[in-house]
């Protein structure tokens, strides 16, 4: 196992940040921790990168114990925290050289690993890190986390607040890194990114809701979902919320995702109810569930 957590818990005073978390990440796997702010993602990252001692439980990274062997772990992992934490007043090149030196290596030695990311920021190698745009900072931080050729890479919300184009590019970079035999643990609040991971853990309020491949999690969704549309979204949601057979209704893009309490029902009944409510241009179609549906069902 590249990463292994066994019954890890951590509290800050009264607040239970994570409770009884267990999961394993296989070598070379791209594993996603998916959950909103406050789910406990960062606490897990800080425990695994030896910056925080777990309250209970044990964990290993690259075969080393997070408490006993913290020095070995620090040499064999790369960590990109959620908050930009490079030296703002050092240049791009100085930051990279600094991190290489700390780990007793050079930029040249591991150049092949960072090459296709570094070329994108190399034209600005004499610019101070604080003066870079968000997307460029993110790429520099990734280069610095990779400079010592880590066995395991920890990325805490690397795409939060990043636009969809840069997010897509970032995930393409991760896929390429994965091919170079680096195990990656990445966290994100964006449910659509879950589908890009080999396996995911859905996490909320410090507890894991489910661990599996994205496909398996979606396939386990227990209900039939209908895409329901109408001219007035607000009225549509209000009407559905009053419907006696309602199980759940959530806005989803241009439609709402509706599930019914009954195992089977006539779509025509729902349609005539909505017509009576005064809605027009009603459409009702069966839809495929996605990770976000699964998350919301599990979090109920």
């Amino acid at each position: 196992m590249s990463i292994s957590l066994n019954n890890i818990s951590k509290s800050y005073k009264k607040l239970k940040a994570v409770q009884d978390i267990s999961f394993d990440v296989n070598p070379g796997e791209l594993f996603g921790l998916i959950g909103p702010d406050g789910a406990g993602k960062t606490t897990i990252f800080r425990i695994l990168t030896t910056l925080l001692i777990p309250g209970e439980g044990t964990a290993t990274v690259a075969g080393f114990d997070v408490v006993e062997d913290y020095k070995e772990i620090r040499n064999s992992v790369g960590y990109m925290p959620g908050r930009f934490s490079l030296y703002q007043d050092l240049t791009v090149e100085e930051n990279l050289t600094f991190f290489a030196t700390i780990f007793g290596t050079t930029i040249e030695e591991n150049h092949d690993l960072i090459e296709d990311i570094y070329v994108q920021i190399e034209p600005f190698k004499n610019r101070r890190a604080g003066k870079l745009s968000g997307g460029m900072k993110q790429k520099l931080a990734l280069c610095c986390a990779l400079i010592h050729k880590p066995k395991v890479l920890f990325l805490d919300e690397p795409t939060t607040g990043v636009d969809p184009v840069s997010r897509k590019e970032f995930w393409e970079m991760l896929k390429r890194l994965q091919k170079k035999n680096i195990t990656i643990l990445v966290s994100t609040p964006y449910m659509d990114e879950a589908a890009l991971c080999d396996r995911i853990a859905l996490i909320q309020n410090g507890e894991i809701l489910e661990i599996d491949t994205p496909e398996a999690i979606v396939n386990k969704f227990p209900k039939t979902i209908y895409n329901v549309g109408a001219d007035n979204m607000y009225k549509l949601i209000q009407s559905l919320q009053k419907y006696k057979y309602l199980y759940s209704v959530f806005p989803f893009g241009e439609f709402v995702h509706y599930t019914d309490k009954r195992d089977s029902f006539e779509v025509a009944d729902l349609r005539s109810y909505l017509e009576k409510e005064g809605l027009v241009n009603i459409s009702i179609e069966v839809a495929q569930p996605n990770i976000e549906d699964a998350f919301m069902e599990l979090a109920r």
Partner: protein, 258 residues
């Protein structure tokens, strides 16, 4: 009667030295409309929004918000709009009640009005049991819902929401949008930025900024037809992809304080 425009921007421009952050954008937003303001990081969204809320003077062009001119009446604009961002919304070290009272005071409501609004808001959001708790101790989703309600305290014509749902869990994110629908239904105009492309689909109309210009503006449905794709995410990727967003403006300067 002519439909009322709450925002009118005409060739609105902002330059910093030689760099043009916002390049002659023109658009209107109608009363009660939910208007999505999208763009890649560094495309100029924040700069444009700062001009519209009266805290940054345009370099050229015209704009009126809630009927007030951005050059000559920025103070009137500030009184007649609501604003909420992901980064700053409420004071963590004040209680729920204190935050409402404080912002009510800032917006110039009378004590009586503040008391009324405070009770109404706390009961609508179901915060009775925690109204004396510090806002800092609340889950992010509750904070954001409270912040949105607070931004509506003074009955503004329009409310600006800058990535209001970033990091919020999926269920609360949807409750938040139900609140947005409700406010719009009651006639409040909503001007919202987001990186969640499914949220772009909830808007009546959406504009997409690329390198300082508005490159597309229409209903989500028509934009999808225009670009022959199935989702707003794909519309966004098609539009914002070129040139490489990795090297914004070919210089990689930090232009929008992100």
């Amino acid at each position: 009667m002519k439909e009322e425009n709450v925002i009118e921007a005409d060739q609105l421009t902002k330059t910093f030295g030689e760099f043009t952050a916002v390049n002659a954008i023109s658009f209107e937003v109608k009363k009660g409309e939910i208007f999505g303001f999208l763009g890649a990081n560094g495309a100029g969204k924040t700069t444009a929004m700062k001009m519209l809320i009266g805290i940054s003077k345009p370099s050229a062009g015209k704009a009126a918000v809630a009927g007030f001119d951005v050059y000559s009446q920025p103070e009137s604009i500030k009184k007649n709009i609501g604003y909420m961002s992901q980064r700053f919304a409420l004071y963590d070290d004040l209680t729920v009640k204190e935050n409402i009272t404080f912002f009510g005071g800032i917006y110039g409501l009378s004590r009586k009005k503040i008391r009324e609004k405070r009770e109404q808001l706390i009961s609508e959001l179901g915060l009775e049991n925690i109204s004396n708790k510090l806002v800092g101790s609340l889950p992010l989703g509750w904070k954001q819902k409270l912040a949105f309600s607070v931004s509506l305290l003074h009955g503004p014509k329009i409310v600006f929401l800058d990535e209001p749902t970033g990091g919020v869990d999926p269920i609360t994110r949807r409750h938040f949008w139900e609140m947005i629908y409700k406010a719009a239904d009651q006639g409040t105009t909503i001007f919202v930025t987001t990186h969640y492309m499914d949220e772009a689909e909830y808007c009546d109309r959406v504009s997409i900024m690329v390198e300082g210009k508005i490159e597309a503006l229409d209903t989500p449905k028509k934009l999808k037809e225009q670009f022959k794709v199935d989702s707003m995410n794909d519309v966004f990727l098609k539009l914002a992809r070129i040139p490489s967003p990795t090297l914004p403006k070919g210089k990689g300067e930090n232009t929008d304080c992100n």
